[in-house]
Amino acid sequence: MKKSLLLLIILPFLQGCFPKVISSFYSREYCSCRFIENREDQYCHWYASNFIPIFSREIDVENKKVTSSSVGFTTSASFINSKVGCQIIE
């Protein structure tokens, strides 16, 4: 409840000054954790999460692609190859 209230208060500010960082961070770091470090979903979710939660996520293991959404923004990151790893793609 407290968390939701806090989010409601800071959401407009976040959208103005801090666009996309939550989903960008989550998608990129989860992608690196899962598809470079080869660690498990639970650990990677914990590692990539921050104090503002992800509202939804889609993990495409076959294509090594992660899409996450938070505070109104959606970002994807994808594993490119075994030299350059993961990149934010959209």
Partner: protein
């Protein structure tokens, strides 16, 4: 009590793909005391969370431990420790006479101050405006904007557009931006085609680091500030290269003078008054140092670790420690989201286990 061994009888033995393995005792280390360091590192009751700890002495791997899904083959993120690889790449490039420490950044980034040099950037003394906050200060953080939002398409250009706040070389400000501008600059110096494989051809291949990932921005510039992924055993090789003054087997990859300068407190750091413990967290050229600081009337940052130690340090507790007086290299990988490991305690426990040359 710290024991210092200034002279080593052994001729350096360089690792191939893997390090030669030994026991702690054979390398003058008390195994029981060393075990205490590992217990501390992997203690569940502590707020830190270690993934890997590895100790190398006299060029031999004496102990390593992995946990929480990390293994010897895991390409672990090293976060800001990546910067020390950028320092090495610049050392190599200078050794190849493609540039000097005095080369000006404006030669390829005309927007920046004409006085700004490669040396200023390696010393984190560009004078460019920067805020290096992470989770603790996300709204004002320029490093987060650079890595994830406004700057991620072309990080070097994003950094080059920062305001010049101080005269280059006079003010120390730790900045991931400076490293990424250096990586963009390196691309211009060596040319886009060579740049593609440059870290591999010039650094990873000679050190027989076979499996490594270095992420790039959308413009193809390596993210020198943060995004190398490598095995702990391979990370230790960078320490060994610096420990041996830039020489790898028969080849002088980096001039010894460049290495010496890299592990000396830099002038910008010495002349800048920083907040709290940052004032004694001394810096050379893309390496953190444990130097005593009489110039600032400050002690070294890690009081129980020898003052010749130097470090690559990264977010969430990533650590490479090189201690020349003990011929000792330590790699520690972590996921310290709650609280960073007490590096003074960890490293000093390992130091205390060294009993003989």
């Amino acid at each position: 009590m710290l024991i210092s061994f200034s002279v080593f009888a052994q001729t350096p033995q360089y690792p191939e793909e893997e390090w030669p393995v030994s026991t702690p005792e054979e390398q003058g280390i008390n195994a029981q005391k060393l075990e205490r360091a590992f217990q501390f590192a992997f203690d569940d009751k502590e707020p830190h969370r270690s993934d890997t700890l590895l100790v190398i002495r006299h060029g031999k791997l004496v102990k390593e431990l992995y946990r929480d899904g990390a293994q010897a083959e895991t390409l672990h993120r090293i976060w800001s420790c990546t910067k020390s690889f950028v320092g090495a790449l610049y050392g190599i490039t200078i050794n190849k006479r493609l540039l000097t420490l005095d080369t000006t950044i404006s030669s390829y980034y005309p927007i920046v101050d004409k006085r700004l040099t490669v040396e200023n950037m390696l010393m984190m003394s560009s004078g460019l405006e920067w805020n290096e906050g992470y989770e603790g200060n996300p709204l004002r953080s320029q490093v987060i904007r650079m890595l994830y939002t406004e700057g991620f398409n072309d990080m070097a250009t994003y950094v080059s557009r920062r305001y010049q706040v101080y005269k280059p070389g006079t003010h120390f400000q730790y900045s991931s931006g400076e490293t990424n501008l250096l990586m963009g600059f390196l691309k211009e110096v060596v040319g886009e085609e060579k740049y593609e494989n440059y870290p591999w051809v010039e650094l990873f291949d000679p050190l027989k680091i076979k499996n490594v990932i270095w992420q790039r921005d959308q413009k193809g510039t390596y993210v020198g500030s943060s995004y190398l992924f490598m095995r702990a055993r391979d990370f230790a090789k960078l320490g060994y290269l610096y420990l041996h003054q830039g020489k790898w087997k028969e080849t002088q990859l980096i001039e010894a003078e460049y290495i010496r300068k890299s592990v000396q407190p830099n002038p910008g750091f010495l002349s800048t008054k920083l907040d709290g413990e940052w004032n004694r967290h001394s810096y050379g050229m893309h390496w953190w140092l444990n130097a005593d600081l009489p110039e600032k009337n400050e002690p070294r940052i890690y009081p129980d670790v020898p003052n010749d130690a130097y470090f690559a340090l990264g977010h969430h507790g990533q650590t490479l420690a090189v201690i020349p007086s003990l011929d000792l290299i330590i790699v520690r990988y972590g996921s310290d989201k709650k609280q960073n490991i007490d590096r003074n305690k960890l490293i000093s426990l390992i130091v205390q286990s060294v009993e003989k040359n």
